[in-house]
Each structure stands twice: as C-alpha cells, then as structure tokens.
C-alpha cells in the first residue's frame, strides 16, 4: 500500500484554504512576495497554518508557492531558494502540531516553455532544487499547484519524484467557455495522463473556477486515470464590491458545494482564492457530520 493510500484509508481528507489573503490580513503589502515572510515574519505565517489546523484541516500546505528559483528570480530572491523552502516546511510543521500532514506547495515558473522563454533543462533543474529543499526539511508530500502546461508539469513531476516523496499535480482549469481547459489548452484527460504516466500520487484541480465547475472536472479526472483526486476550488466567482474584488460564495455555500465534490469521489478537498479558515471550518463540520451519521 502506498503512502497516500494509507493516509486516505479512513476516508477523504480536508485540506486548507488560501494563504496569501490570510497573510495580507496580517500586514503583507500588495506586491510583496508572500514567501519572503517565511524568513521575515515566520510567526505570522505560522498563525495561518495554526488557523487552518484549528479549523479542521488534516493536510496543510506551506507558504512556498513562489519559491522555485525561476519565479523567485523575478524579485531577485533566487539566492534564498533553500532558506525560504526550508523555513516554509518548518513553519507548517510547527503549526500542524502533529494533527495535520504537511504537503509542500510548489507553483509554476510563470514562464512558457513553448515560446522558448525558458528551456526544459532549466525548468527541471529549478523544480529539482526547490523539491530537494522541501524534502530535506521534512515535508510529507509535494503538491504542484496551479499548473497550466502539461510539459512543465511533467518536468516538475519528474524532478520532484527524485526526492522519493509522494507528488500531487494540480492544474488550474481557468480557460475555455466551460472552464475545463488550462491557459495552455490542456484538458482534464491530458492532465490525468501526464500525472499517471509521470508517477504522481494524485492528480487535481485548483483555482480557476468556483466549486460548481469542479464536480465535472473531478468526474473527468477520475474517468481518465486511477489516481486519487485533489480539489481546491475558489470561493465562487469574483465580484466587484466598492472597487474591491470579493468572491461570491459564503462559507456555508462553499461547504455545501464542496460536499458534492466528496460525493463525486474527490479524496482531498480544500479551497483556493477567496477561502479562509471559516470556509474550512464550515466544510469540516459538514464532512464530520456526514462521516459520523
């Protein structure tokens, strides 16, 4: 039995919600790289992890989404790659307090392979460097989130698997009229194939759309491969209120929709943009009631 199957033996796991907006509530300025707080304000980053664990997250991520050296180079921080990633894992491990698993977050490079802006060997080396730092610091698994390009995802997956940790690959289906294609045009079926062929421990979708669009994506991912499915939808659709962007779903609405994702066979469910510990608390409460009944 592989490690992920063991973790899921007692049923699906509730993961966490957004971190960036939680850090903003604690003073992160617009434009500041959230990951830099792993070194500058580790106690505030830890508060976010603690809030999710207390809300019922059984998997919490790390504040390392932008900490691959290619993405960090945009803000001159690539030299801090190891330090930011190690600190991110240590902070989440402390916040988890033995009650939640720590899956380390890896985001895309932000550059397109297809246009030659970045070369395959550079991409692979960048992900290998981040993954090695996360693994050395003791992450339980690695999660590649918000991926668009199946080629980049395949390179990241191969690099991350060298650590020996389980690797989850999650795509952002934010394009096309039905919100079922990634920015580069990949379908859930193509995403599932890349994940399965590359030896991923799970495949998933995050960001892109609200929970209502995710049930169909969940079904398509499950039909296209044998892997467990990881889902983190946004809190509904963005709406503008007083020149600020807010997401439309309330924690209760979100939890109700997320329950349908569990019913559709998702193994890991949490939230992306617009979600907070309140959303996870509402979801954990409903899911808990469901399991005990």
């Amino acid at each position: 039995m592989n490690q992920v199957t063991k973790w899921l033996a007692a049923g699906p796991l509730i993961t966490d919600g957004a971190w960036g907006t939680e850090l903003q509530k604690r003073g992160l300025a617009a434009g500041e790289v959230p990951d830099s707080w792993n070194l500058e304000h580790p106690e505030r980053v830890e508060e976010v992890g603690v809030a999710y664990r207390a809300a019922g997250s059984r998997v919490i991520l790390t504040n390392t989404f932008r900490s691959n050296p290619i993405a960090l180079a945009a803000s001159g921080l690539e030299g801090a790659t190891e330090a930011l990633n190690r600190a991110g894992v240590a902070i989440s491990r402390k916040a988890a307090a033995g009650e939640a698993l720590v899956f380390a977050s890896i985001g895309p490079t932000g550059k397109l392979l297809m246009t030659g802006d970045v070369k395959p060997d550079e991409v692979r080396a960048a992900f290998a460097r981040q993954a090695a730092a996360l693994a050395e610091a003791g992450a339980d698994a690695l999660v590649m989130e918000t991926m668009s390009d199946v080629e980049e995802a395949a390179l990241a997956l191969a690099a991350a698997r060298e650590t020996g940790l389980p690797v989850i690959v999650s795509f952002a289906f934010d394009s096309g009229r039905k919100h079922d294609r990634t920015m580069t045009g990949a379908t859930p079926e193509q995403a599932a194939r890349v994940a399965q062929e590359g030896g991923a421990a799970a495949v998933g979708a995050n960001c892109g759309a609200g929970p209502d669009a995710f049930a169909e994506i969940c079904r398509r991912l499950r039909a296209a491969c044998d892997l467990p499915v990881w889902l983190k939808p946004n809190a509904g659709l963005p709406a503008v209120v007083d020149a600020q962007v807010l997401y439309s779903a309330s924690p209760e609405d979100f939890a109700a929709s997320a329950m349908e994702l569990l019913a559709a066979g998702a193994s890991f469910v949490g939230g992306c943009c617009g979600t907070s510990p309140e959303f996870i608390r509402a979801l954990a409460k409903r899911a808990g009631a469901c399991v005990s009944s």
């Binding site: 960036g20 907006t21 903003q24 300025a29 617009a30 434009g31 945009a74 803000s75 932000g110 397109l112 297809m114 246009t115 390009d149 934010d174 394009s175 096309g176 009229r177 294609r181 990634t182 920015m183 580069t184 045009g185 963005p238 503008v240 020149a243 600020q244 962007v245 943009c273």
Partner: protein, 212 residues
C-alpha cells in the same frame, strides 16, 4: 494564395524563423511590403484569432503567431517608414504595480504589434508614475493595464488617478485586462474599456484609433 502563401502558414503556425526568411526573400524579389502585410500577414493573424475564439488555439499558439508576425514586421518597418507609412497607433502597456505576472500582458503586447501598433512595453510591476512618463514621452493615445491578482487590481485605479493628476487623462484611452478583471470593474474605476482576451484588446484599440 500566390507565391508567398508560405508566409501565411509560417505566421499561423508560429514559425518565426520561416516567417522572417520568407519576408526577406519576398523583399529581395521586390514585393511591396504593404502587399505582404495585407495579403498574407494580417489574414494569418485574423485566422489565429478565429482559432483562439473557437478554442482550437490557446495562449501559447497565439503568442507564437504574434511573434512570427512581429519578426516579419520588423524587417518591413524601415521600408514602411521610408515610404511614409504611419503605425496604426501608439500604445503604452504594462502590468501594474505589485504584480509580476506577464504572460497575458506579453500576449496583448505582441498581438498589438502584430496589428501594426507601435508598442512601448514597460514590463511588470510598473508604478503609476512610469506609465505617466511613458505617455508623455511617446505621445501614446492608448494605455493598456494588466493585473492577474485581485489584490493588485486597485493599482489600476491608482494609475488612472495618476493620469488625471498629471493632466493627461483626456488625451488617452485606458484599456484594462487580466484574469480577475471584469467589465464592471473597468466601469467602476473609470477605465475606457475592458478586454476579455488579447483579440478583444486589439479590436478595442482599433476602434479607438478609428474613432479618433
């Protein structure tokens, strides 16, 4: 399609090497630059745009086509300038302060260049005052602002406010775009238009120039 139909294919397929080589060859053989643009290059970009609309092309394919078009146009530009041809219009573009995302902005920038606009691309994380300076320096009629994060969208409003304070708001049209941006947001912050994708942005820029 005639003897240089390969130029149409090279642009549509995003093959910049081929589009540049064919354009060079066409010029050596004495073909008219404007003829090349209207017979092969613009139809190829129009087709790329159509394929994008019907979800046959996605962002990377469109970006490659726009780059192939740009490579060919750069060879033609000195001849067009010598013959007195003016650019379709002047545009200043950038991702607003606090936001480092540039894939969408690069696409709009390339598509505008492909459409014959003279584009000043300020890059990402651009403070309001740099947009103001660039408009003053280039005399641009159109400013395109991009943001991919809900938290950096307010920088669009700040930038429009900076144009007002510099006394140049009435001289320009401001178009905004980016994944979380909406038509409603454009109205709320007093922008002149919202482009849901790169195709729409180019169409809006053309409308603005035609109306001015």
């Amino acid at each position: 399609m005639g003897e240089f139909g390969g130029l149409y294919d090279a642009i549509l397929n995003g093959d910049q090497k081929a589009s540049v080589a064919l354009t060079r060859q066409a010029l050596e053989e004495g073909l008219d630059p404007l003829d090349l643009i209207h017979r092969y290059m613009i139809p190829a970009m129009d087709e790329a745009g159509k394929r994008f609309e019907c979800e046959d092309f996605f962002v990377p394919e469109l970006l490659l086509a726009a780059r192939a078009m740009k490579g060919a146009l750069e060879l033609l530009r000195p001849r067009l300038a010598a013959s007195g041809a003016q650019p379709a219009g002047r545009v200043v573009i950038g991702t607003v302060k606090g936001d480092l995302h540039d894939i969408g902005k690069n696409l709009v920038s390339s598509m505008l260049e492909g459409g014959g606009f003279e584009v000043t691309d300020l890059g990402a994380d651009v403070p309001a005052e740099r947009f103001v300076e660039a408009v003053q320096k280039t005399g641009a009629q159109i400013v395109c602002l991009s943001a991919l994060l809900t938290v950096t969208m307010p920088s669009m409003k700040t930038t429009i406010e900076a144009f007002r304070q510099a006394g140049i708001r009435d001289r320009i049209k401001v178009l905004i775009g980016g994944a979380p941006v909406t038509e409603q947001y454009a109205r709320e912050i007093g922008a002149d238009g919202y482009g849901a994708n790169a195709n729409v942005a180019v169409a809006l820029a053309r409308q603005i120039v035609a109306a001015s």
